[in-house]
């Protein structure tokens, strides 16, 4: 198991970030996805996320590993909710440590974009 990669699936909303930048990092980026109060102009109450474990964790880890290799990252930590996450709460967090800014930011975009296309996680809207 590679300690530089961590993947956590959490029931309900994510708590505050507890990850720390690694020793040699020059760049540290924390991206959070938050449930917005509106979708298509309709007021939302919550999003309900569904995972397919252990495949979801497996695919997130595989993607984290590929992203780390491609961009030469130092660390990558992924946290994602399952179940109900209310408006204003955090459902996703990606924390990346890298030597330089450029690769950290590109890696964040690449990871999230690939996750949204291919990782088995689904959401259902719960309107207010």
């Amino acid at each position: 198991m590679n300690e530089r990669i961590s993947v956590t699936i959490v029931e309900g909303p994510l708590g505050p970030s507890t990850t720390e930048p690694p020793a040699n990092a020059g760049a540290w980026i924390v991206f959070e996805g938050i449930v917005r109060p509106y979708e298509d102009d309709r007021p939302l109450a919550a999003l309900v996320y569904e995972a397919y474990e252990p495949m979801t964790t497996g695919e997130l880890r595989r993607l984290a590993q590929a992203t780390m290799m491609t961009h030469g990252l130092l660390t990558i930590a992924v946290e994602h909710s399952t179940g109900r996450v209310a408006v204003g709460e955090t459902s996703f967090r990606l924390s990346i440590g890298a030597l330089h800014r450029a690769e950290a930011i590109e890696a964040a975009e690449d990871f999230i974009s690939a996750m949204k296309k291919g990782v088995p996680i689904w959401k259902t809207r719960e309107f207010a």
Binding site: P54, E59, F92, K116, K117, P120, I121, W122
Partner: protein, 82 residues
């Protein structure tokens, strides 16, 4: 052979079920055979199948991968993480 395919998220909603049985004419169906059979078994899924992949035992399957009896088969499509 009869294969049970797990559905999730919007595809479960579209099909009105979280698990669908498909009949295939062979005893060693490939992932592609299952996807083709799904089109007939659940026409509501047709539009989303081209952007979906089959998972066998929690791993994405190659097109020509054979489904064995007892395998856990799932349709992975219309994902929306983040």
């Amino acid at each position: 052979m009869r294969v049970s395919v797990l559905l999730f998220g919007p595809q479960a909603t579209l099909a009105g079920t979280r698990s669908i049985e498909v009949d295939v004419a062979t005893d060693s169906p490939t992932a592609t055979d299952i996807l083709t059979a799904l089109q007939e078994a659940a026409p509501a899924l047709t539009g989303s199948l081209t952007s979906s992949r089959l998972a066998i035992n929690h791993e994405f399957a190659a097109h020509d991968q054979i489904v064995q009896p007892g395998d856990e088969v799932a349709l992975i499509g219309m994902v929306s993480g983040g």
